[in-house]
Amino acid sequence: VREAVPRRPSKTRIVVLGESNSGKTALVNAIAGAQVLTPSPVAHTAHPTVVAHAARPFLAAETSDRKRVRLASLDDAPDDVRRLHVWVREPALQTLTVIDTPALGVTDEDTDARIPAACRTADLAIWCTPAMQAWKASEVRMWNLLPRRVRARGILAVTFADLISEADLDRLMARLHRDAGPLFRQIVPASACADFVRRSMASL
């Protein structure tokens, strides 16, 4: 498996974070430029999932002892998964790798240790906050629990922004700039996030 997929650490790595059902998977798809993962209104992403480019589509699970097993479907993942790997042939992914993460804060405050691990090598950390219930106290707390160097590369993405009117979005953005501005490099609606990521890649 290792030979089949060459690692290219030079690619920009983007990790997508957020509470449950905050639109992380949809954002990963938007950045990847295709419906790579299936978003669901109920089920959560169970494992950190690395989406990267490869000539041949390929699914694998990486166990906690760093062994990789090939998978027929993401639902077949074994118990002891460190992260899942999805290789797809998407032009948008030629220069970047996106990591989807399980929801933070499912249990009261104990963070899944795999999430900070997934963040470690990330060049950008995107926090997804849904427009209808944006930037709650629990999100502030969760974000502040992440390592400082991850937070230094933070972008706040407002997901589901299409569900509210433009005027409302303006007022929401004003509040977010006021309340969360100091904690992020940038605050953008998720729809603009993929473009923003590509544009800012040059500066990374």
């Binding site: 509470e19 209104p41 209808m132 219930q133 944006a134 106290a137 005027a167 929401l172």
Partner: protein
């Protein structure tokens, strides 16, 4: 599509209201029938029936759609202001009364007193106190910054002299959405500067709105809360404190993020408080990508999670969209009549904005939630109270009826005896005299034992609260000790630990269990004393009327739901604070033993205070019960005594007749008077029977238990 009728639910709590109205009328009627001795009991019942509304708190995280939900349920679209940003800043109580007279004030806003404001604005109130205790000297910058913002904002909005407003109460004759926005919404200064209105929400402590007609048959107080999980910590704190003793909780969650960790945490707190009183409303289903498929999936996922978290409970879950419910209620032609909520885009009516008409076939869930609330009300403490009043009145009426029967019988016997010769008549009178003396003796004995029983009850309360207090304190100390030892143990084994967090939920559960058990114990001690009293009353009744076969004077059973409040247990304490604080706390102390000692101290100081509050609550509850028991027994025994007094008067008149001159005119007048008294007895008896029939009907309406119905057979 905009079918309004489908959104109009049946009036909520219709049956309870029928029972309440009938009971009120009965209380009025019985005042004349039962006499002065029953007045304390009747007055208490009247007060309860007039003033006790069903409190329904609408709670949930910020932006779950609580205000929109209330607007839809109350069938007043656009009434409470809503917005895209957290908007409700003040706990708002909507009092619904279906009274024919207009309420005196339509709205009343209490502003913070100078002291309250000072406490809040100079440090963030209780939250700072908690933080200080956990990490002395550590001031959370965020909290300080927010409190600063609040103070400056109040000054900017209300002028430098806003301090003069503190402590005021503002009343208004009419309510408009604009007025509500001025007092309860967080506000948007850009919008406000333009229209020249003043925003009071920063200094408003509570808002009360009085509404004369609504979707509720039974008097209801709907409570809108600012929402938990608010990054504005001061507001979060206000919400938590506002959740005092509602009868029903509607827990609103968003379908887009159903049942997050924060929701579960809050439900856990509530669960301890109010089993079977929660309904979950999954709001915003109209915003799901595919409502027809997603909504049922989310509903079953939520139900599954609830069963997992709370296996003992059956929490009803309703899916819907408050936004849709509000919208469907607006007659399309009269849309202009209702001003659009501040800041929110106008509702899409045909011809304006049809982008969201798509999910219109989604149910708003309003009819369903109305039905669930009606059902919960029927088993709530309100229904319990109505039953208690009914049963209590039934007993009073029964004993009055028995007294009247006995009087009627004695009048008849005496009149009958007069037709016989002197010796028979003399014998009948002596017999009546003898039995009256016996009753009086028994009644006097009973009255004497009352004094003793009062003292006995007071002793019981003292010892019960004492035991409760020492039990709770032991639990707290043991738990604190245990936590400290566990922490020491783990830190010694793993010196790399960087933080620690004590989970006090088990402590809350233990305290709750001990508290309720002690309370039950005290209550059953009371019941034993009552059981001792009732047979004595029964002896008097049965000697009054030996052939009486009806059910009378059953020892009243206290409904298991009539429990004391355990609200103090939900108080936020220092150890409930988030992990950031815990890390600070951990870092502030190097020495292991010092940490353990401080942890023990933290848990003890907060929970011993809570234990004290619980004991006070139990004490006042037990006192109320004793008052009720004494009122009740007093009313019955006084009823019997007045019956005896009337018979005594009869007999005295008979003796008077015997001693005085024997002329036929006097005799005829006497017999006429006695016949009138007999008539009066019969009239009263008839009224009693009618009242009993009415009470029996009320119990039917309330779906009485078999034990309760038996009283009226």
């Amino acid at each position: 599509l905009l079918d309004q009728d489908s959104e109009r639910h049946e009036l909520i709590g219709l049956r309870l209201e029928e029972a309440r109205v009938r009971l009120l009328a009965l209380v009025e009627r019985l005042g004349g029938l039962l006499g002065d001795h029953a007045m304390p009991l009747l007055d208490a019942a009247d007060k309860q029936l007039m003033e006790r509304s069903c409190r329904i708190a609408v709670i949930g995280q910020i932006k779950a759609g609580k205000s929109t939900f209330i607007n839809a349920l109350a069938q007043r679209p656009g009434f409470l202001p809503t917005d895209i940003n957290p908007w409700t800043a003040v706990v708002t109580a909507l009092h619904f009364r279906n009274s024919p007279t207009r309420p005196e004030h339509a709205a009343m806003f209490h502003l913070f007193s100078a002291d309250e404001w000072k406490e809040l604005a100079e440090g963030g109130g209780r939250l700072r106190e908690l933080t200080e205790r956990l990490v002395p000297g550590f001031q959370p910058d965020l909290l300080r910054a927010q409190v600063d913002v609040m103070r400056k904002r109040a000054e900017a909005r209300l002028g430098a002299k806003f301090g003069e407003l503190l402590g005021q109460c503002h009343q208004f004759e009419t309510v408009t959405p604009e007025l509500l926005a001025d007092y309860v919404s967080a506000g948007d200064d850009r919008a406000y500067a333009a229209n020249g209105r003043r925003l009071y929400s920063d200094i408003t402590r509570s808002a009360d709105i009085y509404i004369n007609d609504g979707p509720f048959a039974y008097p209801v107080t709907l409570i809108d809360t600012p929402g938990t999980n608010d990054p504005f910590l001061v507001r979060d704190e206000i919400t938590r404190r506002s959740l005092e003793n509602p009868d029903i909780y509607v827990f609103v969650i968003s379908a887009l993020q159903p049942l997050s960790a924060a929701d579960i945490y809050m439900l856990r707190l509530l669960n301890g408080l109010h089993k079977d009183r929660i309904v979950v409303f999954i709001n915003r289903t109209d915003q799901l990508p595919n409502p027809a498929i997603d909504a049922p999936a989310i509903k079953s996922a939520v139900e599954k999670r609830l069963r997992l978290e709370f296996p003992a409970l059956d929490i009803p879950v309703v899916c819907g969209s408050a936004w849709l419910g509000s919208m469907k209620l607006q007659p399309s032609g009269a849309a202009q009549g209702v001003p659009p909520p501040l800041g929110k885009a106008p509702l899409p009516f045909p011809g304006t904005d049809v982008t969201r008409i798509g999910p219109m076939h989604v149910s708003s869930g309003m009819r369903e939630i109305a039905a669930v609330i009606t059902k919960l009300m029927a088993s709530s403490s309100i229904a319990m109270l109505l039953r208690q009043i009914t049963v209590c009145l039934a007993e009073l009426v029964r004993s009055a009826e028995v007294t009247d029967r006995a009087e009627l019988q004695s009048i008849r016997e005496l009149l009958e005896a007069r037709r016989h010769e002197w010796a028979t008549r003399q014998a009948a009178m002596t017999e009546e005299q003898r039995s009256l003396v016996a009753f009086e003796q028994r009644a006097n004995q009973l009255e004497e034992s009352f004094a003793g029983i009062k003292t006995h009850f007071n002793d019981l309360i003292t010892s019960a609260t004492h035991i409760l207090h020492s039990r709770l304190c032991t639990i707290v100390r043991d738990f604190a000790e245990g936590e400290a030892v566990t922490m020491l143990d783990i830190l010694r084994r793993d010196p790399k630990q960087r933080s620690w967090r004590a989970d006090v939920l088990p402590l809350r559960e233990q305290m709750q269990a001990a508290y309720l058990a002690s309370f039950e114990q005290a209550a059953s001690d009371f019941a034993r004393v009552e059981q001792f009293l009732y047979p004595q009353l029964k002896v008097i009744v049965s000697s009054l009327l030996p052939d009486y076969r009806g059910n009378l004077l059953e020892v009243p059973a206290w409904s298991p739901g009539a429990r004391p409040s355990i609200a103090p247990l939900t108080d936020k304490v220092a150890v409930d604070l988030g992990s950031t604080w815990w890390r600070q706390w951990f870092a502030a102390r190097r020495d292991l033993d010092e940490r353990a000692e401080h942890l023990r101290h933290l848990i003890e100081s907060d929970f011993l205070r809570i234990a004290g509050e619980l004991v006070q609550e139990a004490e006042s509850q037990l006192k109320q019960r004793v008052d009720y028991i004494l009122h009740r027994i007093n009313a019955i025994s006084m009823g019997l005594k007045t019956g005896i007094a009337r018979r005594r008067a009869n007999l005295d008149r008979e003796y008077g007749l015997l001693d005085g001159p024997h002329d036929d005119q006097r005799l005829a007048r006497f017999e006429h008077e006695q016949a009138e008294r007999a008539q009066e007895c019969m009239r009263r008896q008839e009224a009693c029977s009618a009242a009993l029939r009415e009470l029996s009907y009320v119990l039917d309406v309330l779906d009485a238990s078999p034990a309760e119905s038996r009283l009226l057979q």
